[in-house]
């Protein structure tokens, strides 16, 4: 067995916003930190975040505050959220945002020289600190440039395939270096998973190749509980044409700046269906909505800024009923605001430069002149590892999770902008608590038998070279993505969900037999084969959870149970690896919301 061995107090798997923020915090606590990056440092999926990070700084509207942000987050999550996480997030995000400024981030500014905030879906006030439509780049570069001077070690282009345990406690990880193919064994006092999402389980997605939910699956196979896996966010506005760009994100910031969703009849269809939870906060007419966009404090939000789950369903309805755009989406028009403001075209280019460039370069569309065509794209998973709200520890000792691979903050549906703030708030907490756990408990014992098992598993596809069949790793992956899109997508029902569970099992059997050509040196066929196990395990979790929840709520829509069910509002679906190796599903009752927080929710409704 050939591998290099690395010793750290805290090992962090994932180097997006959450992983980097955790690394900075754990280093500050004096821990020796290893940061595993699946890609090059600074290229993680955080870089693609566009619209902004939500924090109640109250720079644009002084009526904002943590209580309003908390209530908005809970309403958006249809009250399935872990209320304690929602409280911590709302209270701490302003400090985390200001801290980025201290480390060199340069946000767009208000007229009086403070951090500017923009409108976004489900947020009562302009709340998103941003830099044009490239906020994620600003965040990751700031954390990266500050982080490299904090003394932690990074392992770039390194993929973890297994967590290693000492009894019931996680004490390390096994992985490979992509460039050389060399194996690495990490031994650590605590491990933080910050691996992001799992959008690559679906055909149409805004996620990059990395987003195979490694952390969800690594944690699950190490015995940790997953919750809320039925809630996958389909972002309402992805590109739909040309085919090769299908799924690429079109920021909600377009609608925040006044973008109108229209159907083939030119109708602003979002005004036709406003959910009861939001009637008090939503404009009656497009005219009132526009007044809100330009800062009229008495006006209410445009219907385009309803929550993402709802907007995605409305778009599907228009397409299904024959009022879609030529390529199966609807129209998103920002050009119309030119009639309302001076220098409109320049304003659009200034506020949405990446969108302008993306449509111009990839679709020959000038968004200052013509409407875009958009449709839903798999964007985010609300579900993930169950964590303690304060410390971010999973249900397995020594294991922590932060960011998209952790669950709880967003409940049944995430509000735009709450993800970037989630990363820095809970990344910071995970780093702090993992460091103190490692300090208290030391590193535990790493047994050779576990390393050998992980090594065997990683080598297996290469040792089956001669068995390579036509489909190979890419073929199985494409079949899984097609199937998930069709059967575990935006609209679900019992029959097809059950089929999905069976088909995932059949694909998993095939994946176990894949042989790959070539050697270990930067071999994407081998990488894809190893990632497949994570994708399959996560797909099964999504399908089983979706089958279990017999109601429609937030991002989970069932044709056979089209309504929200009061009783289901009190439960979360939990998935855990059973003693026999199979996936066990159960329902846990949600703890009652603390009295003072319940009062805030009622006051803000």
């Amino acid at each position: 067995m050939d591998f290099s061995r690395h010793e750290h107090d805290v090992l962090i798997i994932g180097s997006g916003g959450a992983g980097l923020r955790a690394a900075i915090e754990a280093s500050a606590a004096g821990a020796s930190v290893g940061l595993v990056c699946k890609s090059l440092l600074g290229k993680a999926h955080t870089v693609m975040a566009e619209g902004g990070m939500a924090a109640a700084l109250a720079n644009v509207d002084e009526r904002d505050g943590w209580a309003v942000h908390f209530a908005d987050t809970m309403r958006g999550g249809q009250y399935l959220n872990n209320w304690k996480m929602a409280e911590i997030h709302a209270k701490e995000s302003p400090d985390r945002v200001r801290e980025l400024e201290e480390w060199g981030a340069v946000f767009d500014r208000t007229k009086d020289g403070r951090i500017l905030q923009r409108n976004f879906g489900g947020h009562a006030h302009p709340r998103l600190a941003h830099v044009g439509d490239r906020t994620g780049l600003e965040m990751i570069r700031t954390l990266q440039d500050h982080g490299v001077h904090q003394g932690f070690d990074d392992y770039q282009e390194c993929t973890v395939t297994r967590l290693l345990k000492d009894g019931d406690r996680v004490v390390g990880a096994f992985g490979y270096d992509r460039e050389s193919g060399q194996f690495r064994v990490f031994h650590a006092g605590a491990v933080i998973l910050a691996t992001g999402g799992l959008g690559r389980a679906f055909k149409i997605t805004s996620n990059s190749w990395e987003c195979t939910g490694d952390g969800h699956s690594l944690g699950y196979h190490a015995g940790a509980e997953l919750i809320d896996m039925e809630f996958i966010q389909f972002h309402p506005t992805g590109m739909v044409w040309p085919p090769s760009v299908r799924g690429i994100l079109v920021t909600e910031g377009v609608r925040g700046e006044g973008g109108a969703l229209t159907n083939s009849e030119g109708r602003r269809f979002m005004y036709d269906d406003i959910p009861p939870l939001y009637t008090n906060q939503t404009a009656d007419t497009p005219e009132e909505g526009w007044r809100y966009v330009v800062g009229d404090r008495d006006a209410r939000r445009p219907a385009e800024l309803l929550t993402r789950d709802h907007v995605a369903r409305c778009i599907l309805r228009e397409v299904k009923e024959g009022r879609g755009s030529p390529h199966g989406g609807v129209f998103l028009d920002i050009a119309w605001i030119k009639d309302r403001i001076p220098n409109g075209a320049e304003h659009i280019k200034k506020k949405l430069p990446a969108m302008y460039h993306q449509f111009k370069a990839l679709a020959d569309i000038d968004i200052t002149e013509e409407p875009m065509e958009v449709g839903p794209t798999t964007h985010y998973v609300m579900g993930g590892l169950r964590v303690d709200a304060d410390t971010q520890m999973c249900t397995v000792a020594g294991l922590y999770a932060a960011g998209e691979c952790a669950a709880g903050l967003h409940g049944a549906n995430r509000l735009g902008g709450n993800s970037l703030s989630d990363l820095i708030v809970f990344g910071q907490r995970a780093g702090e608590h993992a460091a103190s756990y490692a300090d208290e408990h030391g590193r535990g014992t790493l047994e050779d038998s576990q390393i050998e098992a992980a090594h065997r598993e990683a080598m297996a596809p290469l040792e089956r070279q001669d068995q390579t069949d036509g489909a190979g790793p890419y073929g199985v992956q494409f079949e899984l993505q097609d199937m998930m899109q069709e059967k575990v997508g935006i609209i679900r029902e019992e029959g097809t969900l059950s089929e999905a569970v069976e088909e995932i099992a059949a694909l998993a059997r095939r994946a176990d037999l894949i042989g790959v050509i070539g050697d270990r040196k930067f071999n994407p066929g081998w990488h894809t084969t190893l990632d497949l196990r994570h994708l399959l395990s996560n797909s099964e979790a999504c399908a089983r959870a979706a089958l279990e929840r017999k109601e429609s709520r937030g991002a989970h829509s069932r044709i056979d149970f089209p309504d929200k069910d009061k009783e289901w509002g009190g439960f979360t679906v939990v998935l855990k690896r059973g003693s026999g190796g199979g996936m066990e599903v159960r329902r846990d009752p949600l703890p009652p919301v603390r009295e003072d927080l319940q009062k805030i929710i009622e006051e803000q409704s």
Binding site: D112, G136, P243
Partner: protein, 247 residues
């Protein structure tokens, strides 16, 4: 169905060759799509870096028909398909395998640059007053996605291999973003003049031409930095004042 033929570099530091692949084209396809299609159908082990496929992460840099490009933003429709399209790795960095190069030198260089050092906060909550007009210039530099195409075309690195004496356009942009940050109090001019070799740049603007983010690297970053260094190190009046006052 229309097809296109590619000649893609296959090999590693020990040697290799351009290998020919033919693949089907679909509407709106970019070079990265074609490379992925070839990888999935004909060459499972072909190494290529990519992440976002939307021009935001700067991973898929390569030389397409000899031009440094992001493969994800280079549309097939803009390339002639009557002859093979060549796709080769960046030339300014050591080859690892196929289209992947070792860009770790860039990370080492960046670590050497003095980090951001803000002045004391203006307000009690730890924040500052900065106006949009004060940050416009810095925001241009902060658009950089670190694709290193500018490094790849810079002759000081590409032809003269002066990686030990010269940090390259990417890191002049990084220096400029720090030096022109309204809150920064650090002084990087001496480093730029000596260990970073800014004098070696003879402003041919090759970097500016290939920047996928449209950053005016030479005019807005490098030339103003050169001017600041001249003011500090070579201004005779200033030298005299320094001599007299000792400051």
């Amino acid at each position: 169905m229309a097809t296109a033929t590619f000649k893609i570099w296959r090999g590693d530091a020990d040697g290799g060759e351009l290998k020919e692949y033919t693949t089907e084209l679909t509407e709106g396809m970019v070079v990265l799509d074609a490379v992925h299609q070839i990888q999935a159908e004909q060459a499972h082990d072909m190494a290529v870096r990519w992440n976002c496929k939307a021009g935001k992460c700067g991973s898929c840099s390569a030389e397409v028909n000899g031009q440094p490009k992001l493969m994800c933003m280079t549309r097939m429709g803009d390339l002639p398909t009557d002859r093979p399209i060549t796709v080769e790795p960046l030339k300014a960095f050591p080859l690892m395998k196929d289209l992947v190069t070792d860009v770790s030198w860039n990370y080492e260089v960046k670590k050497r640059i003095r980090p951001f050092k803000p002045r004391r906060p203006d307000f009690e909550d730890g924040s500052w007053e900065m106006h949009q007009s004060d940050v416009d210039r810095v925001q241009e530099f902060r658009k950089c996605i670190e694709c290193y195409l500018c490094q790849d075309v810079c002759h000081v690195l590409r032809e003269h291999h002066m990686h030990d004496e010269f940090v390259g356009p990417r890191f002049f942009v990084h220096n400029a973003a720090l030096e022109m940050h309204p809150l920064d109090t650090e002084d990087r001019r001496e480093d730029l003049r000596t260990s970073q070799g800014i004098g070696l740049c003879n402003i041919t603007k090759c970097c500016t031409k290939v920047c996928p983010e449209g950053i005016t690297i030479t005019d807005n970053a490098i030339i103003p930095l050169k001017e600041r260094i001249v003011d500090q190190a070579y201004d005779p009046v200033r030298k005299l004042i320094q001599l007299v006052t000792g400051r």
